[in-house]
Amino acid sequence: VTAVERLVSRVLWWGGVASITLMLIGLAGYVVQVGIGGEGFDVPRGIEHREAGRPPNVFTSLPQVLDGLRRRPIDPLAVAAVGLLTLLATPVVAVVVAVPVFLAGGDRRYALIAALLAVALVGSLLIGGSG
């Protein structure tokens, strides 16, 4: 097992743990919120018609998520969304950290391949996150 495999393995593991923790906290907060009579996701409407479930229930960009985090009381679904975004970013971070390790090991060809992949992934994440 090489250095790059160890590092990528660690990133995937801890990224997964962090995102699951955030999702659990967010989900628990949401249960508490709807439990005390707060407004929740309109299940029958939202599950059938995508348009009915649009914001504030769905976060479609990072600014919206940040907005939900700034709200008081804090929007628990925004916390869950941060967990979801952390999960989405985990494989991307794993590819990004592989670049310098390949370079350090003298493998320029794979440093370039990882870099190309990283650009494609970060690009789709940035376009997705800001859209």
Binding site: V1, T2, V4, E5, R6, S9, R10, L12, W13, G16, S19, I20, M23, L24, G26, L27, Y30, V31, V34, G35, F41, V43, P44, G46, I47, E48, H49, R50, G53, R54, P55, N57, V58, T60, S61, L77, A80, A81, L84, L85, L87, L88, A89, T90, P91, V92, A94, V95, R109, Y110, I113, L116, L117, A120, L121, S124, L125, I127, G128, G129
Partner: protein, 282 residues
């Protein structure tokens, strides 16, 4: 259904899908999408978004373990991920435009095909000859792993890389289009086309699934198809189920137990195809 009851039902269903997926060696995603749409009546796009998230979660956990054990080949994975990621972004963009019925039809066919591939996987053998594919030589698409069952190190090198890349692009396209991991198709490219050992194929496919799915998931997120109320319990349930399923797998040596699930999956596949063809109301 009340809010909490809905969440509990989602968690339980996803947990079950995670177990069956792990036992069969399929991802949870391809089972989840039909279950979420047919049992819960969840909009297909939300179901696909939630499935993608669960796919990244299970892949991250599994890939972390496989990388540490040296079974995942990171070079092979990254090299081929260039093809899957390109396919995935195109597929994810297309899934916003392609009519729901067509998506259901494609999903049904992909599901039926995955079961066939899974059945084929039950007989596992090692490739015998050492291939000399020029691309594989140039990019070092080779490695060694310690086969516990055989009790020796096994050396391998990829063959027919060009065809492998093409199949991988298709696997990425399906992943983005349907919100699934498309592990069965990735394994097909690695094992059948490129003739890598089955264990290496499965482990490397797992590593690639997360990378591919995160590329499509970004597009789904931007479209608003990743709904936290649906995606969060689904991801948690599938992860838990996959963990339990993997432990079960170690004990279930008997392939007949796996075969029990196959008719269920065929039923799901046929139902999706029937919906796609408009034979039943969706």
């Amino acid at each position: 259904m009340g809010h909490v009851a809905f969440l509990v039902a989602l968690l339980a269903t996803s947990f079950a899908a995670g177990i069956v997926g792990a036992v069969l060696g399929l991802g949870g995603g391809i089972l989840l999408v039909p279950l979420l749409t047919m049992v819960f009546g969840i909009n297909l796009h939300y179901a696909m978004g939630a499935s993608l998230v669960s796919v990244i979660a299970t892949s991250s956990g599994a890939a972390a373990t496989y990388l540490r054990s040296g079974l995942s080949n990171i070079r092979v994975g990254l090299f081929l991920a260039m093809a899957t990621v390109t396919g995935a972004v195109i597929g994810a963009a297309l899934s916003g435009i392609v009519p729901t019925r067509a998506l259901e039809l494609i999903l049904g066919l992909a599901l039926a095909y995955s079961v066939v591939v899974t059945l084929r996987q039950l007989k596992v053998e090692l490739p015998e000859t050492e291939p000399y594919d020029p691309i594989a030589m140039r990019f070092g698409l080779e490695g060694t792993y310690d086969d516990v069952r055989l009790g020796r190190d096994v050396k391998y090198r990829a063959d027919r890389v060009k065809t492998g890349v093409a199949v991988m692009w298709g696997a990425g396209l399906l992943s983005g289009l349907l919100g699934i991991g498309s592990g069965a198709f990735k394994v097909l490219a690695l094992d059948y086309v490129m003739r890598l050992p089955m264990k290496v194929s499965t482990a490397t496919s797992n590593f690639m699934i997360g990378i591919t799915a995160s590329a499509s998931a970004a597009v789904y997120f931007a479209r608003g198809d990743i709904h936290p109320v649906i995606a969060t319990p689904v991801a948690l349930g599938v992860m838990l189920g996959a963990t339990v399923g993997t432990v079960l797998m170690g004990r279930l040596r008997n392939t007949t137990v796996r075969a029990l699930f196959v008719p269920v999956i065929f039923y799901l596949a046929l139902s999706m195809i029937a919906r796609g063809l408009g034979l039943v109301a969706s």
